[in-house]
Symmetry: C2
Subunit: 195 residues, 2 copies
């Protein structure tokens, strides 16, 4: 059964060790930010720095592992029809809207939506760090310059993660214009029991 995350919103839920989370881009060119906590220890959470270090690459795809701040594997990518994601950039937020789109009314963004969703699990705001940005297409040029391009994901494309510990997972349909080719679309997901 697929659950819909409405455009520019987010949710949080428990994902048990061995369960798989399939994140689907139903219309194409839509980013979804993911962040997670160890269900049994909220001081253990996803770490971009540890994951980039152990992955020895900024490119993530099938077989890539996402690590916690305690160097444990939280999620592994087990299926991926896109193989183009980002783990450098902060989730969009009121602050990023003010910075990049000063003429627009700022919205909570993925950060605000995740903070709200995680608050149901009594997780404080400052525990929410840099997200893994599924389907986000970030290019680094030879001088180190970062560009955000439209996602390469087409309608129906998906990435599936397997939980390596019991987790609280937060997941969004991203709110930032540039990241989503300036159209705000939903994200679908399904939780699959262990094979």
């Amino acid at each position: 059964m697929e659950t819909t995350i409405k455009p520019r919103s987010g949710t949080a839920f428990i994902l048990r060790k061995g369960q798989r989370l399939k994140v689907i881009d139903p219309e194409g060119e839509q980013v979804s930010d993911i962040y997670c906590f160890n269900l049994d220890n909220k001081e253990e959470f996803l770490s971009s720095g540890r994951s980039l270090d152990y992955n020895e690459s900024v490119a993530f795809g099938k077989g890539s592992k996402l690590y916690s701040n305690q160097s444990n594997i939280m999620l592994e990518i087990v299926e991926d029809t896109v193989e183009r994601h980002d783990f450098l950039l902060t989730p969009c937020s009121k602050d990023t809207f003010r910075h990049f789109y000063p003429d627009e009314e700022p919205v909570p963004g993925c950060y605000g939506n995740l903070v709200h969703a995680f608050s149901e699990f009594n997780i404080p705001e400052h525990y929410v760090g840099t997200t893994f940005n599924i389907f986000m297409n970030v290019e680094i040029d030879k001088n180190g310059g970062i560009s955000v391009l439209p996602p390469t994901s087409k309608a129906g494309d998906y990435t599936t993660f397997e939980a390596k510990m019991d987790l609280i997972v937060g997941l969004t349909a991203c709110s930032a214009g540039e990241s989503n080719n300036f159209k705000y679309k939903p994200i679908h997901y399904s939780v699959l029991d262990p094979l």
Copy 2:
């Protein structure tokens, strides 16, 4: 007056708004990791994701600003004779030693040294995130692969940061072999009052 950080160690100290921190590589090819907290609110700390996002580059040098998780500028680079640093990778730690150097006895590394130094300010371990790695030379190839190369810093090279708020700063002489061309050297620093 220059203070010495002995090889494979770290320290923490208060840096007031407007003060400048000059970090010197006295022998060359030595990395120094820096992390910081808002002195008045320890829930506000350095964020690699926010800094990469607002900097729109993985390359940092004179004029670059380092942001907090609350999107405020904590430090600005005001002098830089090296212009080659890293903000992608986690500080070295017992876990990274186990991962990358499984045949060696693991040492606390920059992470352990920072956690210890910050504990004097009652900062909990899990608040210590991805450091800005001064003089660390990280190359990203066209496929996204990350390589750690010897620093380009020569004896006497330095980078100076100006504090944009009152800070608790942690600073190390890095402990990882590959990052420092396999020789563990000291780091010098001095705190300069506002111009």
